[in-house]
Amino acid sequence: MSGGNFFASRWGIISVGAAIGILGPLLQKFGNPANMGICVACFERDIAGALGLHRADVVQYLRPEIMAFVLGSFIAALVFKEFRPRVGSAPVVRFVLGVFAMIGALVFLGCPWRAILRLAAGDGNAILGVAGLTAGIWIGTLFFKGGYNLGRASKSYVSVGLLMPIIMAGLLILRLVFPQIPGQPKSDILFYSLKGPGAMFAPVALSLIIGLLIGFIAQRSRFCTMGAIRDVILFRQAHLFLGLASLLVVAFIVNIILGQFHPGFEKQPIAHTMGLWNFAGMMLAGLAFALAGGCPGRQLFLAGEGDGDSAIFVLGMIVGAGFSHNFGLASSPAGVGPHGISGVIIGLAVCLFIGLTMRKRAV
């Protein structure tokens, strides 16, 4: 029942997962950090760093992939007449969920996209991350069964839908106007990393083209890493899951071909081995994504098609990255940050509060 939209068919979602499975590892090959060809949470964190919202000097880069995701989705929505400006479904809750989704993801060191890419590159720690993600989404489905609902959005002004694409276009212009000056940590107003993952990036044009392509096909297919797992648990429907599985399998094959597959737990790139907190961090992120109705990628694509509530979730994630690094919540390869555990516990408490109190039997 795709209504003429190939990407909404079974083979459509499988081909989108496969395309991401090829392009993610390729971006790594061309310069993005290890097992981080694409990571929505990490890249938004790097953007927060580039803008000076946090000052962790190893993770500062205005990642063009994020802007391209939104703009690619925006273009697809315009072309297929799906651009629908809307907002007003509990925006402040979405902001808070975005903040804690980021805090949880940075305790694990990756969003669901990177969790799958890490797994596909042999990082055993990602098994616990994916397990935690599933556990968090499962808790979210219990709330849905109990009547949890963020309420309706309303149609709104065209400018409401345009703001996020405009913000992203503005950031992209900043990236192009103020490129990195070799050896300098700052280029006018933008911060750059001289070492660490923030110093590793693919050529801008390549990041942009791949990002636009993924944004376009993800908008058409409604690709969502959280929805993939949620729909299996909640409805026993495997449609979106086929996309996620295809991403994992294809990324695994591409990593082997490119020599990027290194199985093990120890010394995995930009990862730590504290299993419990890999699990718990992702559990928090999974719960927050479930309560907000989409994985961090999906939130970008929705923001591109005019969803103001998803735009607020994205802004929440970027602000959350600021808190994560300023408050010592984010992990490093050495392990969890000094206050990471507190961050996860507080985040879970906030999500439970939201899930338990926002119920409406009949809307």
Binding site: M1, G3, F80, R152, A153, R222, F235, H239, G294
Partner: protein, 74 residues
């Protein structure tokens, strides 16, 4: 003809439209109903969910800013 059951899922994000549809399908077992949605994503998801339960998508009408999906199981 006016439908006995019309679900209004407009303005609701994932997974609400599908949850509402599946809940009603479970209640009715068979018959006819209409679901109002306002995004293409919801249109696809509701149709897919109905088909997965052995229901048939009879008609999808464009209505206002969204769609009226008529599903049935005789």
């Amino acid at each position: 003809m006016k439908m006995a059951v019309t679900l209004d899922a407009r303005g609701l994000g994932c997974p609400q439209p599908v949850l509402m549809t599946l809940g009603e399908i479970k209640k009715l077992q068979r018959g006819e109903m209409e679901v109002l949605v306002d995004t293409d994503t919801s249109k696809e998801n509701v149709s897919r969910a109905a088909v997965s339960q052995g229901w048939e998508v009879e008609k999808i009408l464009e209505e206002g800013e969204g769609y009226r999906i008529r599903i049935k199981k005789p």
